[in-house]
Amino acid sequence: MHGTIALLLALALSAAALAAQGSGGARLHGTVRDDQGAPIGHAQVGVRGTTLFTRTDASGRYRLAQVSTGTVHVRVDAVGYAGVDTVVAISADSASVDFQLRFSPLTLAPVSTVIEKLPHFGERPATSVAQVSERDLDRRAVNTVDEAVDHVPGIQFVNGQINIRGSTGYIQGLNSRVLLTVDGVPMNQGDRGGIDWDLLAVDEIESVDILKGAGSSLYGSAALGGVVNVTTRDVPNGWHSRLRFTGGVYADPPYAIWQFRGSPGLQGGADLSASYGNDVAGGRIALGDRHSDGYRQQDNDDHFHMAGKTRWEASPGVRVDISGAWAVNRYDVPLSWCKRGKCDDRGQVFQPFKIDTTERGARTDSRKGYIAAQIRSTLSPQFAWQARGSWLRTHFTDIRSTTEYGVGDRFGTEARIEAHPDSNRSVLVGGEVTFSRVASDIFGSHTQAELAAYGQSEQQMGNARVSGGARLDFLAVDGGSLTAVASPRIGVTIPTDGRGHDGGVWRASIGRGFRAPTIAERFVHTFALGFEVIPNPNLRPETAWSFEIGHTTGPLLRFLRLDAAFFWTEAHDLIEPALLTPSDTIQLQNVVRARLAGVDATIIGAPIPRLITTLGYTYLSTRRRLAGDSTTGPLAFRPRHLLTLGADYAVGDLDVGADFRFASRPERIELEGFVDPRRVPVKVLDLRAGWSRGPVEFRLLVANALNYIYNLVPETLAPVRTVTLTAVWAH
């Protein structure tokens, strides 16, 4: 902790020193608006082939420093608008240029500069990406990030664990094969490696970007299956405040024999945020509270959160961001549904809304928070550097028949240099140090250090854009010997027609990813399903080679766009639970060699004005092979078919929409024979409507409108129909 505070101070002092030295170059500023004159927030504005890029604020304003005088090539992109590529002549210290973007629902979302660590200026990346924009988040009126990301084609949440093309499966929260970053800062837990999706209130989030496929060449451990970056709202100029109220009701069970309470369950919450900023500095604070009765027995959830963010533009081209959040949860834990005789079963083989009476009183108290500081200094259009320091703390207490607790700290620092030797080439080199410390009665007291160096370069070669890079990670547990893992990646994109950035493009990439065993996986010692779970300190890192080839078409017939990718992952040393005999204990082992292959396709259509439809389909074929055994079979918790359908129609101040998700029944689950194997396909329809005028907005969401009763993991009921009304006032 002291080290992190020292690092944060060092970053602030660096910024002060850089502020004092000043900088050269001209300033380019102005606004980005649509063809009706309305400002476009969060648009990306950058000078092609340089380090210079920024995003517009909510008023559509942007500022770029360090711009060379003369003619520069400026690129502007925004979600839902056709990008603009233009040449601007700058002859003085300051120039003002306003941009107007044309509404274009088929235009692909710009690639996040955070998730790729480099600006892309309209070029498509070599690996599949997806984005949940602020508009998507608002429209869906969800309360947590995972609820919004769950609708992205190729992604499925299994009881809180994210699967990108089947990456993770379900391992009871003990790890994640997907890395979460918040504004580029890794946020997977220091002890279990999992993700706290409620760390940030959804009202604090501007967008979510998802990298599908191995991202370890830039991000290291946990990015084996992909990366999810959450971009928090920036601090705009002037005074701003935002108030959000939400209230809802859970449906009763659809069958009288499953009734478990006399009145419907309710949920509600409030979020408040306020910010002030000017051209030099700004700050924002937010807090909120939520309560939910839950949709089943013993399912109460109380949640409080607060967050803050400051920005300081110490001098033109130097920006310091400090952000943090703290969330407190106390929630009941319905560990498993009631099976015959384990509660008042009312003559039923199982009661999915009720719990086993022996699990009465199970709950978890959870506290988590982070603080992060980042500095970016653009020394010239060709050269910039960036550094960060962060501290993430998670603290849980599980209250069951026995009480278990764990405190995990994850400290992280990273520094990188970005260079653009010429307009067709970019180079990125960096280093990262992560230190995790755990104190727990089930994981013990341990530390894990990860040291890494990485480099990546992108080069225009004729019509193609080629990228290549590698990262070398060294891991040490409890100060022991180092384990080294190399993660190379190469990729290429090739435009297929002459429509520039709006045209079709082929992409291909191959990369190696890895995930270091978490401290929880190595040292957990507890009891589960009546078995003793014993530690395995000798676990090796999981590794995987991932290959992808994909194509994005240009607009077809003026109202369609297709993106399709074939992916193939060969994984080694996956960590999964194994039942040991004759000791009858469970231990996590590197037991599986696995293959995940499939096709991921998305069609976006705008068949009539104001109607946007999407269809996403993922076919996933998995195979596992136990070490030293020829037994094969599918990986657990991976549905073969995933389908998402969406439609949104807007007219005036009103908009309506619907989403449908289908996931086929998983062919295999873990520990079959020890748990209730009952499972069904997922068929969930969400309906929504919204009305907004000026600063006021109302949103109605009917999630799981058909009250389809299903489960994603054994003995755990998924959410029933929930009707939620959200009111937002923003000033």
Binding site: Y255, I257, W258, R340, G341, K342, D344, D345, R346, G347, Q348, V349, F350, P352, L557, F559, L560, G605, P607, I608, T613, L615, L645, A647, A658, F660, F662, R678, V680, P681, K683, V684, L685, L706, Y708, I709, Y710, N711, L717
Partner: protein, 174 residues
């Protein structure tokens, strides 16, 4: 033309989604076997199992028995099968003729041979019975409908407070 096809296709896809979602999902699954005509439920066991235990079975009576003869001769089924009694609860189901049953009882049996005579009561004890939900001091009444089963007939069997038949009926000879 293609736009029209796309629109129709989109509508078809949405309707197909709607229709498929209306079907399936988890549904209630009664312990009573499908097609059963009789009654079923769950017995919750309390207390420790006596060493001399041979079986625990469920029996039903159309009228409350008054004598040991009634107890043996009016029992349905005449020769019941045992239910599992080593767990804390067990599901049971029994085929019965349609009618209204005034006593559904869990009977504990000691090791020994039964002869379907009043003398059997020496080997049998009442472990528990289905109770009237409105007045749990009284036996509950269960109606087996024609062609169907009565479910949710749940009750507790106390293995450490087994009661002799004479607590319930008059026995002139054993």
């Amino acid at each position: 033309m293609l736009r029209a096809v796309f629109r129709v296709g989109a509508v078809v896809v949405l309707i197909a989604g709607w229709v498929t979602a209306c079907d399936g999902g988890l549904a209630p699954e009664p312990i009573c076997a499908r097609g059963l005509i009789g009654l079923c439920g769950t017995i919750h066991f309390r207390g420790s199992i006596p060493d001399s235990t041979d079986a625990v079975f469920v029996a039903a009576y159309l009228t409350f028995p008054q004598t040991c003869n009634d107890l043996i001769n009016n029992r349905r089924p005449v020769i019941p099968g045992s239910v599992p009694y080593t767990d804390s609860a067990a599901a049971y189901s029994m085929a019965l003729d349609p009618g209204t049953y005034h006593w559904v009882v869990a009977v504990w049996k000691k090791v020994g041979m039964l002869h379907v005579s009043p003398a059997d009561t020496a080997l049998l004890r009442v472990a528990g019975y289905y109770r009237n939900p409105a007045d749990t001091s009284q036996p509950g009444v269960v109606t087996v409908p024609k062609g169907a089963a009565a479910g949710d007939v749940n009750f507790v069997a106390h293995l450490d407070s087994l009661r002799p038949a004479t607590d319930f009926v008059t026995c002139t000879a054993q």
